[in-house]
Amino acid sequence: MLCKRLIVCLDVRDGKTTKGVKFQDNQDLGDPVSMAKKYYEMGVDELVFYDITASVERRTLFIDVLEKITRQVFVPFCAGGGVASVEFARRILLAGAEKVSVNTQAVQNPQLIGDIARRFGSQCVVLGMDVARSNATSSGIEVYTHGGRKATGIDALEWAGRAEELGAGEIVINSIDADGTKDGYDCEVTQKINQRVTIPTVASGGAGNAQHIVDVLGHANAALVASIVHYGTHSIPQIKRYILEKDIPVRMS
């Protein structure tokens, strides 16, 4: 039986891991390579790295980080942040990532999804969606871009369906409302988007404890965590044991 996945997310800026609340006030958390290795050894199922470096020139630093991770981490990882071209996607994949994540640039140029999928396969194209509850769209969920700062007026369900048609292989649903609150994932929003597509979905934003993860895994194929493991309040084995106790299939390495 296919296991539910526990994914750890690392935001990387200028080669360092950082974490913010509601996409702001970022703090330096350390070296992403050694953090990735630690999570791998503790049994994480997958990792995600978002490059939140502002300048394009610093991108090379991010690729270097990915290459170092590839040498020591033997579980899949996804990388993204500012991916606007097939060429940059290719650099990420050649650095050893299994998947590349597109977000703002895919909203601006939806063909980017199809272009990457045709060249490297749908399985490696992950659509990252920053979403928030809103009255501006018919489903009540709106897509945001630019790291959650800019409302687009786009309906999240329509965008998810369109992305699947264009060739996305997975969707990360990041709730701006829940992100950083530690009050739990936005299960309702996750469920609605998950039901709209036939590709796997990953819930993101709001994890405060293992029960939150169990709650959202009823509506998604994977759960993404950051703060609760970065700050050491929870460990990967501890979360996984809890998930397993609730009869949810999960890999115990």
């Binding site: 033997f74 650095a95 590709i199 796997p200």
Partner: protein, 203 residues
């Protein structure tokens, strides 16, 4: 037998960096090869693959790699195919009508929509249905990492080494003489995947 000249075939269709890193991590320095004439110089050949079977199939047919791989297999040296690289060991694929190497008879089929989410993406268990040296010290029902929308369906059940359940039961590893293929990514399957790779390199 020492591991000899271990080669990873780069046919420009997939990501070979992860495989290269995993083999190096196991203490073997692999060569990345992309020219047809280099294939016969290999003692062990890894045929990796991420991506589109049709693209991969066209890439290796147009460059004469098909014939070179068949000639390599005929020498009796070990070949490991991974993901699309395993699928191409079979006769043909429904993915874009891709032609396979036909080393192991069978088809590559698209998962029916009824199985659930496609691609089959994530960690799933391998049930060992036949003993094989490459699975030495790998316990039954261990989880490994899959990402695929098409699955291998060998004509002859004797070629199936492990099976995996995703609402249908499919062949997750196949073997024939010196050839072994895994649908899952050995290079991204944690300790279990590394053990299988180790067995391929050392046996």
């Amino acid at each position: 037998m020492t591991q000899g000249n271990v080669c990873i075939l780069d046919y420009q269709a997939g990501n070979i960096q992860s495989m290269y890193s995993a083999v190096r991590y196991l203490g073997v320095e692999p060569r990345i090869i992309s020219k047809v004439e280099e294939i016969e110089l290999c003692d062990r050949l890894i045929f990796p693959g991420v991506g589109d079977a049709q693209f991969a199939s066209e890439a290796i047919q147009s460059t004469g790699v098909y014939d070179a791989i068949r000639a390599f297999v005929a020498t009796g040296n070990p070949l490991l195919g991974v993901c699309v690289g395993a699928q191409l060991l079979l006769s043909s694929s429904e993915e874009g009508g891709a032609k396979g190497l036909d080393i192991i008879p069978g088809l590559v089929k698209r998962f029916p929509k009824s199985v659930g989410k496609i691609p089959h993406m994530g960690w799933n268990q391998i049930a060992i249905v036949q003993e094989h040296p490459i699975l030495d010290e790998v316990s039954n029902e261990k989880e490994v990492y899959f990402v695929h929308s098409f699955y291998m369906d060998p004509s002859n059940k004797e070629h199936i080494v492990t099976e995996t359940e995703y609402n249908i039961r499919f062949a997750s590893s196949i073997a024939h003489e010196n050839v072994f293929g895994t649908q899952f990514h050995t290079e991204k399957s944690g300790m279990t995947g590394l053990k299988i790779l180790h067995n391929f390199l050392m046996n």
